[in-house]
């Protein structure tokens, strides 16, 4: 009888041990899932487009791993991975959100870069059209030549914007496109000023002629 009780007690303890140990398995799958989510966010450029958020997610994942380590270090019967699992699930969710946000942000920046390039291109076209309108003559030849050089510089710089877009350097592309537009608008402004100056001189000449004629009649 005593033997049977001992065997039963032994089986119960072994069962209990396995039950406890079975309940406290490290959350390997959760770790892998969170890790993959973090890496996936990084692979779409989270570090570049949303660096602060990316760092937070990495820290969140690291904290979850630390919690796993804390439990790993405990006596098997006292291990509890519930909190670690929660933390890993949260890190995974944050990483997935980060990935989605990064893609959105990247698309947004790309869209802005393309729009900036379009604007720069338009501004160059405008400067060229203004230059065509500029009063031509011996007096303006040097200025027109200088501004033609300016426009040539703008045109030669524009392909660099496309290169930057192709290389996914959208911020660089935006900066370059904005700088080109700024200069192109300045050239247009200068041509406009020159046109106004010449027209004003013409008017003044005509008025002087009229006055002369008027004086002659008297």
């Amino acid at each position: 009888m005593k033997k049977i009780v001992k065997i039963l007690a032994g089986c119960f303890l072994i069962g209990l041990f396995f039950f406890m140990a079975g309940c406290a398995k490290p959350p390997t799958e959760d770790i892998d899932a969170a890790k993959n989510a973090v890496e996936s966010a990084q692979s779409v450029g989270a570090e570049k487009y949303l660096p602060d958020n990316a760092k937070k997610v990495v820290n969140e994942f690291s904290d979850a791993l630390d919690e796993v380590k804390v439990q790993d270090g405990k006596f098997p019967l006292f291990r509890k991975y519930d909190r670690a699992k929660e933390m890993l699930a949260s890190a995974k969710g944050s990483a997935e959100k980060l990935r989605a946000d990064t893609i959105t942000k990247k698309e947004e920046v790309k869209k802005n870069a393309l729009a900036a390039m379009e604007e720069a291109n338009g501004a160059i076209g405008n400067a060229k059209a203004m230059l065509e309108k500029a009063p031509k003559g011996k007096e303006t030849q040097a200025d027109i030549e200088a501004m033609t050089g300016d426009v040539k510089g703008l045109e030669d710089s524009l392909p660099d914007v496309q290169k930057a877009v192709d290389g996914e350097d959208y911020e660089g592309a935006i900066n370059k496109a904005k700088s080109i537009k700024e200069k192109a608008d300045a050239v247009s402004g200068q041509v406009q000023q020159a046109i106004e100056k010449v027209e004003a001189a013409k008017k003044a000449k005509e008025e002087a002629k009229k006055k002369k004629k008027g004086k002659g009649k008297k």
């Binding site: 602060d52 630390d66 804390v70 200088a146 040539k152 911020e171």
Partner: protein, 378 residues
């Protein structure tokens, strides 16, 4: 039946012993509390944000490694049964790492600030330089190539400023270097034109021309004209005294010495008026034709041809005049005056009046000063 009161007595007694024992055990655990890692985490975040990996890779690595070790130590203690936890060593490491992180953060911030200041100072220099080149290119009509390089340099400067605004220092420095290269190219092409204006032997030769012309005017009591290209002025002397002074327009490449037909340059040398053309006889109101090319011009032209500096088909040209049409205009090499100034001059000079055209008579002229500004390290 007897057992129960004994058991209950034992339990009562046990509680009485266990309670103070437990209190004693917890009281004995005098270890400091678990260190708060959040502060260090914030520092780490800030270090990451300001690119510590770039500015102090070894130190930042060490900091992160120590932080990791601290976290592992805390984890180790946390894994223990609460009675056996001891955070004293972790607490000490925590203080050291915190201090180290703060020191590193301050040192990197200093490095970043100094880099930022350096970038802004270089940008300021480049902007000054671009401004001088811009003025000089317009003054000497340096041509499409120079303006193109100047514009591209300007774009790079503008990009560098934008990169700096978004704290992208390396990108800004790259743009600054690029701008510097482009401005150097623009500068080179104008330096060849304007360096003549800072050569003292040439300035002295021009001074002699002017002095001799004024002496001739004084000795003979005649009119004489001095054209100063750097100052863009025409001065008429009578009996050695300046009586008229007007602003002028010169050739579109007027700061160069004329070498051949169509180069747009205004000649330098001693000439005389050989023909006076009144209203209706000149395309540009009234004109005074000069005896260009003189002997020196012919010599220089042939020398340049021999050296292959100009095309074999090039001709020496002529028809260099002082004419009306306005000082604002650029000419093919002639000297242009406002019509009412031309009226005043026209009636005071005659065929044979000496006309001396020089680049400059002062080494501190506008062009040499511009060149100096460029060479002074902008």
């Amino acid at each position: 039946m007897l057992r129960l009161p004994i058991l209950s007595g034992f339990l009562k007694c046990g509680r009485a012993i266990a309670l103070p024992f437990l209190i004693f055990l917890f009281a004995c655990n005098s270890s400091p509390p678990q260190p708060e890692t959040k502060v260090i985490e914030n520092i780490d975040h800030e270090l990451h944000r300001i690119d510590a990996m770039k500015y102090a890779p070894a130190e930042y690595d060490k900091f992160r490694m120590n932080f990791r070790l601290l976290k592992d130590r805390i984890i180790q203690e946390e894994s223990k049964f609460s009675w056996f936890r001891d955070y004293e060593s972790a607490q000490n490491s925590h203080s050291d790492i915190l201090r180290e992180g703060e020191r590193l953060l301050a040192s990197i911030r200093e490095k970043v600030n100094s880099k930022k200041e350096e970038a802004y100072s270089r940008i300021k220099g480049l902007e000054e330089r671009a401004k001088i080149i811009d003025e000089l290119t317009l003054k000497v009509n340096a041509g499409i190539y120079t303006r193109k390089k100047l514009t591209m340099g300007g774009i790079s400067i503008s990009e560098a400023k934008m990169s700096l605004k978004s704290n992208e220092y390396d990108s800004a420095m790259g743009k600054i270097d690029n701008a510097s290269v482009l401005l150097n190219e623009a500068e080179k092409s104008i330096a060849s034109i304007i360096k003549r204006y800072s050569q003292s032997d040439l300035i002295n030769k021009w001074k002699d021309f002017v002095r001799d012309t004024i002496v001739e005017s004084k000795k003979k009591g005649i009119a004489a004209i001095i054209v100063n290209k750097a100052e863009r002025t025409l001065t008429m002397y009578k009996g050695g005294k300046a009586v008229l002074n007007f602003n002028i327009g010169i050739g579109r490449n007027g700061y160069r010495d004329k070498l051949f037909s169509g180069d747009g340059a205004t000649p330098e040398g001693r000439y005389r008026i050989i023909k006076k053309s009144g209203i209706g006889k000149s395309k540009y109101y009234k004109a005074l034709l000069l005896d260009y090319p003189n002997q020196d011009d012919r010599k220089e032209f042939l020398k340049a041809k021999r050296k292959g500096l100009i095309s074999n088909k090039a001709r020496i040209g002529g028809l260099i005049e002082i004419h009306g049409g306005g000082e604002d205009g650029t000419t093919y090499g002639c000297i242009a005056l406002e019509n009412h100034h031309m009226d005043e001059l026209f009636e005071r000079v005659a065929v044979g009046t000496p006309v001396t055209i020089v680049g400059a008579t002062n080494i501190e002229n506008e062009l040499s000063q511009g060149l100096k500004g460029l060479q002074n390290g902008y």
